[in-house]
C-alpha cells in the first residue's frame, strides 16, 4: 500500500514537472531575452502562486476546471470526463504551485548566459531556435536543472491546492502529504510517523541527486 502511495506521489510530481518545464523555458525566454511588452506583468504572474496561499491556487483551479467552470465544462463536453478529483487535477495543482520555484531558477539561468555568445551565433547565421538549443539552453543547463529539481521537490510536498481540487481519495489522488494529514487527523501516529520517514527519505534522495548532478558537471569543467 505504501509502494502504490509513493508511486502515485512520484507520478503526480513528475508529470507536474514535465508540464512546467517547457512553459518555464518559454516564459523565461519571453521575459529575459525578448523583453516583450508587459513582461514585468508576466514576471509578477510567474511568481504569484509562490506568494499566494496554495489553497487559493487550488480554489482557482477548482473554479476553472470544476463542472461549472469554463474549462471544466468545455472538457466535459468534448471528452466526457471530469478533471477535478482525478490524479490529473492533483498534477495540475502541483504544477501551478511549484511553477514559480522552477521558473525563477530557469529565468536566472537563462538571463546569466553571455549575450555575446548568442549574438555571435546569430551573426554566423544560426536561427533563433538553433541559438536556443545549441547556445542558450546548454549554457544555462546547470541553473535550469536546479530549478527543475527545486520545482520537483515542491511538487512532491504539495498539499493545500491538491486537497481542494483533487480531494483525498486513496489510490487516486492521495499523495504522501495527504496520507500523512489523514493519519494525523485519525490519531494513527505510528502510520503517520512511518509515512513521515518515507517523506524525508524522498526529499533527501532528491536533494542528493540534485547535488550529485551539479558536482558531476563541475568535475568535468
Amino acid at each position: 500500500m505504501d509502494i502504490s502511495l509513493i508511486l502515485l506521489t512520484l507520478q503526480i510530481a513528475v508529470v507536474a514537472t514535465v508540464i512546467n518545464l517547457p512553459i518555464a523555458i518559454g516564459l523565461s525566454w519571453l521575459i529575459v531575452k525578448r523583453r516583450v511588452r508587459g513582461s514585468f506583468l508576466l514576471d509578477v504572474l510567474v511568481s504569484l502562486p509562490l506568494a499566494l496561499p496554495p489553497v487559493v491556487s487550488g480554489y482557482f483551479l477548482l473554479l476553472l476546471l470544476g463542472r461549472e467552470g469554463p474549462l471544466g465544462s468545455l472538457i466535459r463536453d468534448i471528452l466526457g470526463v471530469d478533471i477535478v478529483f482525478t490524479w490529473v487535477a492533483a498534477a495540475l495543482a502541483s504544477a501551478v504551485v511549484s511553477f514559480p520555484l522552477m521558473a525563477r531558477g530557469v529565468m536566472t539561468a537563462i538571463e546569466g548566459v553571455d549575450e555575446r555568445l548568442e549574438r555571435s551565433a546569430r551573426s554566423l547565421g544560426a536561427g533563433a531556435l538553433r541559438v536556443a538549443f545549441t547556445i542558450t539552453l546548454p549554457l544555462a543547463y546547470r541553473g535550469i536543472m536546479a530549478g527543475v529539481l527545486l520545482g520537483f521537490v515542491r511538487a512532491l510536498s504539495e498539499f493545500g491546492a491538491t486537497i481542494v481540487v483533487a480531494g483525498n481519495i486513496p489510490g487516486r489522488t492521495q499523495t504522501l502529504p495527504l496520507a500523512i494529514f489523514e493519519k494525523v487527523q485519525l490519531g494513527r501516529d505510528a502510520d503517520a510517523l512511518r509515512l513521515v520517514g518515507v517523506s524525508i527519505a524522498l526529499a533527501v534522495a532528491t536533494i542528493l541527486v540534485h547535488n550529485w548532478l551539479l558536482s558531476k558537471s563541475r568535475t568535468k569543467d
Partner: protein, 272 residues
C-alpha cells in the same frame, strides 16, 4: 575574442548531454506513468466511497470483508461530511456517500445528486458522558451541577454538531445555564475527549463512538435519547455514479448482519 572562444569551449557539450539525459528521463518516466495508469484502470470493479471521519474504524473493517466477499475494490475517502458533500457537488466521482448528520445529504439532494430511492438512514450515534475511571459516578445529567464536577468538557456548539447536540440535551434537562461557569469548550469532539483523557476536565459529553476509542475512561449512558435531535448517519448512492447498481449493493452490504455487528462493536447502533 579569447574569452569568448574559451567559454564557448568550456561549457556546452557536457552540460547539454547531462541535460538531455535528465530531461529525457523525466519525460520517459511520464510516458511510463501514463501507460501504467491507463492500463491499470480496467481490470477489476472499483467503488469509491466518501465517508464521515467518525466511521473510519468501523468502515476499515467492513471494507476488507466486502472486498473479500465480492472481489470489488473499495476505496474510501474520509473527511468532514460537509466538505465531502461539497466535493461531490464539484464533480468528485464518488459512488456512495455516508454522512454524519442529514444536512450534507440534503444539500446533495437539492443538487439532484442523490440516486432515486437510494437514501436510507444507516446508523444512529448517541451522546454519552465520559469520566476518568477514578471519578464519582453521576446518576443523571442534573448531577453535573454538583461541586464534584468542577470542569465539564463540551464540543463548541458553534463549531461541532456534537456540541450543538450536547447543548440541546443539557437545556432539555434544565442544567445548561447552571453549569455555564464550569464548561470548557473543545474545537471538536475528539479534542473534547482528549481533555478528559489528560485529566484537564472531570467529565465530558461526547459521541458513544468516540468514547469507545478511549478504553481507559468510564462511560455513563445517562443522556436520554429523547432529549436531543437523533444523530442519524444516512447513506446514499450518488446519481452520477457509473456503478449505480454496485453502489446500491454496497449500501445493502452495510445492512448485513456482519456489518451491523462491526458497527455495533464500534459504538454505532443500526438505524431503526
Amino acid at each position: 575574442m579569447a574569452t569568448l572562444s574559451q567559454s564557448a569551449q568550456k561549457y556546452p557539450t557536457v552540460y547539454w548531454q547531462i541535460g538531455q539525459f535528465t530531461g529525457f528521463g523525466f519525460y520517459l518516466m511520464t510516458a511510463l506513468f501514463c501507460l501504467v495508469s491507463a492500463c491499470g484502470g480496467g481490470d477489476s470493479e472499483e467503488l469509491l466511497i466518501f465517508a464521515a471521519t467518525s466511521l473510519t474504524n468501523a468502515l476499515t473493517e467492513i471494507e476488507a470483508d466486502y472486498e473479500e466477499a465480492t472481489g470489488v475494490e473499495a476505496r474510501i475517502s474520509y473527511g468532514g461530511s460537509q466538505a465531502l458533500s461539497r466535493q461531490i457537488e464539484s464533480g468528485a466521482p464518488a459512488d456512495v456517500f455516508i454522512s454524519a448528520g442529514a444536512g450534507p445529504v440534503t444539500s446533495l439532494q437539492d443538487a439532484g445528486l442523490v440516486a432515486e430511492g437510494s437514501a436510507l438512514s444507516l446508523l444512529v450515534n448517541r451522546l454519552v458522558l465520559v469520566a476518568r475511571a477514578d471519578s464519582r459516578e453521576p446518576a443523571s445529567l442534573s448531577d453535573l451541577t454538583r461541586s464534584d464536577y468542577s470542569r465539564i468538557g463540551l464540543a463548541d456548539p458553534n463549531l461541532a454538531p456534537a456540541g450543538a447536540y450536547a447543548r440541546e440535551a443539557l437545556s432539555h434537562e434544565g442544567v445548561w445555564e447552571a453549569i455555564q461557569a464550569k464548561v470548557v469548550f473543545g474545537a471538536d469532539v475528539r479534542v473534547t475527549l482528549t481533555y478528559v483523557e489528560t485529566g484537564n476536565v472531570d467529565v465530558a459529553l461526547v459521541y458513544a463512538t468516540d468514547a469507545m476509542t478511549a478504553p481507559d475512561l468510564s462511560l455513563f449512558d445517562i443522556v436520554p435519547d429523547g432529549n436531543y435531535t437523533p444523530i442519524v448517519y444516512p447513506a446514499v448512492a450518488v446519481s452520477e455514479s457509473p456503478e449505480l447498481n454496485l453502489a446500491k449493493e454496497f449500501i445493502e452490504y452495510l445492512r448485513s448482519p456482519a456489518s451491523v455487528a462491526t458497527f455495533r462493536r464500534n459504538g454505532f447502533e443500526p438505524s431503526p
